[in-house]
Amino acid sequence: MKRLDGRSNEEFRTVEARVDVVSRADGSALFAFGNSKAIVSVYGPRQLYPQHLQNPERCLLRCYYDLASFSVPERKRPGPTRRSIEISYVMTKALEPAIKLEAFPNSVIDVYALIIDSDASTRCAALNAASLALANAGVPMRELVSAVSVGKLGNELVVDLTKEEEDFKVIKEGEEQKTTDIPIAFLSRSKKISLLQLDGKISAEELFKAIELGKKACLKISKIQERTLKKIKNIKK
């Protein structure tokens, strides 16, 4: 069975990846899954104020995730929302294991993710872009982070949901069944999970299957990230 946009179940949307998109940032990247586009700029390591936030053992990582007001069908009021604060937090937690934070005590690395167009899986696009931007900024990292969303559509497990698929409802035995959305992030080398969220219902066996599916897609994405960084054009800044 084919999906609404003709993809197979294990296929993610067309990926667009570029680095050095924000000239004033120390490192920046754009990553897009189809219509979900994220621009991430990285600043630092730099001095951290107020001083009580400084940690003499490691560097602080601060992520800011936000949707541009024009990125969604209905205008989004600018500024942080309950949702964006949560995503900022999970992004920080997902990126932390990949960065060598202990190399820069008492300082901070700021990661600003801006979604300029949204069509579901924006946090995954933002994480992929953030990983690219951090490497582009020359931050010492253990490995890259790649993320993808896996969903349960009816009885099928599919990779990289679109908004249309996310809102899709199946009537099964007279009951309305909503799509389950599982954003997953993997570390490229150790193949460990650094982000796993679940929105909806899924059985344990299916969750394991979904993680396996996500892992495969994430490894493909990490290859794309590698290629993006290595383009000679990008290095001649």
Binding site: E143, L144, L229
Partner: protein, 228 residues
């Protein structure tokens, strides 16, 4: 662009080498027998100590580095200097290279002054600077340009070959701070701007082989243009 040599570029988490005899150097780590990159950059295979030379990143101060910074604050016992590092540099009265008699330290160095200093020591929370050595001074004329600190070795060249060439051809004095701040002082603005152009050429094309010749050619062409 045909001169560009394919260099081995690595991304964090990529295996550089899996043979036992190699040692992990800067920007890498060892995992079993494998040497893994920890930064985005070019692999240096000149010795068995494998290193990754970063292509981007902020300046990480080292003891003995010559840096150019700007005074941004004055306290009762010294000056805070912004040297484009993760922390501010601090210059104490004892290390300022002048005999301080007056109470008001802005009599010596004011906020916004540009200083040529040396890193005395690097601690977890502070970078101590010194200006006691010869040649370290306040820079009050000339031109300042900023480049990425990772390009500094290329701008200096092997044993200073690149910077000396630019100095000679443009008849200017150039001081390259390890933090990517470059001070140019010439007899006239034209010379300074020409030196600036040459340095920007070097910092934009870190991959070209025989860059010294290219820069020489560029400078000669530019100077020939002036005479016409």
């Amino acid at each position: 662009m045909e001169e560009e040599k394919a260099r081995e570029i690595v991304v964090p988490g990529e295996t550089i080498e899996n043979r036992k005899e190699f040692i992990a150097g800067e920007g890498t780590r060892k995992e079993g027998n494998e040497i893994v990159a920890e930064r985005f950059g070019v692999v240096d295979r000149s010795t068995k100590l494998l290193k990754v030379i970063p292509l981007s990143g902020v300046y990480i101060p080292r003891k003995g580095n010559t840096v150019i910074g700007q005074v941004i604050d004055i306290t009762f016992n010294g000056w805070f200097v912004d040297i484009r590092a993760p922390h501010l540099g601090f210059l104490t009265i004892a290390e300022c290279g002048k005999r301080v008699i007056k109470e008001d330290l802005s009599e010596y160095y004011k906020v916004k002054d540009i200083l040529l200093a040396k890193v005395k020591s690097v601690k977890t929370r502070s970078i101590e600077l010194t200006m006691k050595e010869r040649g370290l001074k306040k820079l009050d004329e000339g031109l300042i340009i900023l480049v990425n600190p990772t390009r500094v070795p290329r701008i200096i060249g092997r044993a200073g070959s690149m910077v000396n060439l630019i100095k000679k051809e443009t008849n200017t004095t150039i001081v390259v701070g390890q933090n990517g701040v470059i001070w140019i002082k010439g007899k006239n603005v034209e010379n300074e701007l020409l030196a600036k152009k040459a340095i920007e050429l070097v910092s934009e094309k870190p991959f070209i082989e025989g860059l010294t010749e290219k820069v020489k050619e560029f400078l000669e062409n530019e100077k020939a243009g002036w005479k016409k």
